[in-house]
Amino acid sequence: MADQKKLAIIATKGTLDFAYPPLILATTAAALDYDVTIFWTFYGLQVVKKERNLKISPLGNPGMPMPVPMPVLVQILPGMEAMATVMMKQKMAGKGVASIDTLLEMAIESEVKMIACQMTVDLFDFKHSELIDGLEYAGAARFFEIAQDANITLFI
């Protein structure tokens, strides 16, 4: 389709909470008949690892609602990050929020194109085999080729 709308997203974050915006927007745009590309770079690559272990930390995140007020010096204790992650996942499941696995599957199913930043792959010593299949490996120039005729471009 020549007049197909296009969305280009740069996804830079690798925490459980920030894995959501690019995938929610990409899957929804695909459902709205957009041609969607996500460029995963820096910590964003954690989202497209085969063995994902995305976490959320209350530390340095005063916006995170906590069941009880928690001083920063308590937040640094071992196990707090794991606890916050478990709590967040339970909360999300309870509220009918899709898991990252589900959204990623749906993105792939709806033909969202995904590019992994080769420079970051090198930087973090990742192997292509550690990342999900179907990724294209490229750099900034490739992103601009896609973004230059995108209707919407987002940096997340």
Binding site: T27, T28, A31, G96
Partner: protein, 75 residues
């Protein structure tokens, strides 16, 4: 009368839309998909979905927290 139904109750954004899109994919032009949802955001979202995809929102109502929609697949 709906040709197909989708139970999206308990699902949160963007799942009702994604499931509806998938359901519509398997339907033919003019057929009607009936959707039940509990996400209050779905009211505006289904409106926007139809505006942008060209499908027709022929019914939208709410009854004690359950939202009901009928979408007619575009030609």
């Amino acid at each position: 009368m709906a040709d197909s139904t989708l139970d999206a109750k308990g699902l949160n954004c963007p799942l009702p839309i994604l499931r509806a899109k998938k359901a519509l994919k398997g339907m033919t032009t003019g057929q009607v998909l009936a959707i039940e949802a509990t996400d209050p955001g779905s009211a505006k979202d289904f409106e926007s979905f139809c505006v942008q995809t060209g499908n027709e929102l022929i019914k939208a109502s709410e009854n004690s927290g359950v939202y009901y929609y009928e979408i007619k697949k575009k030609g």
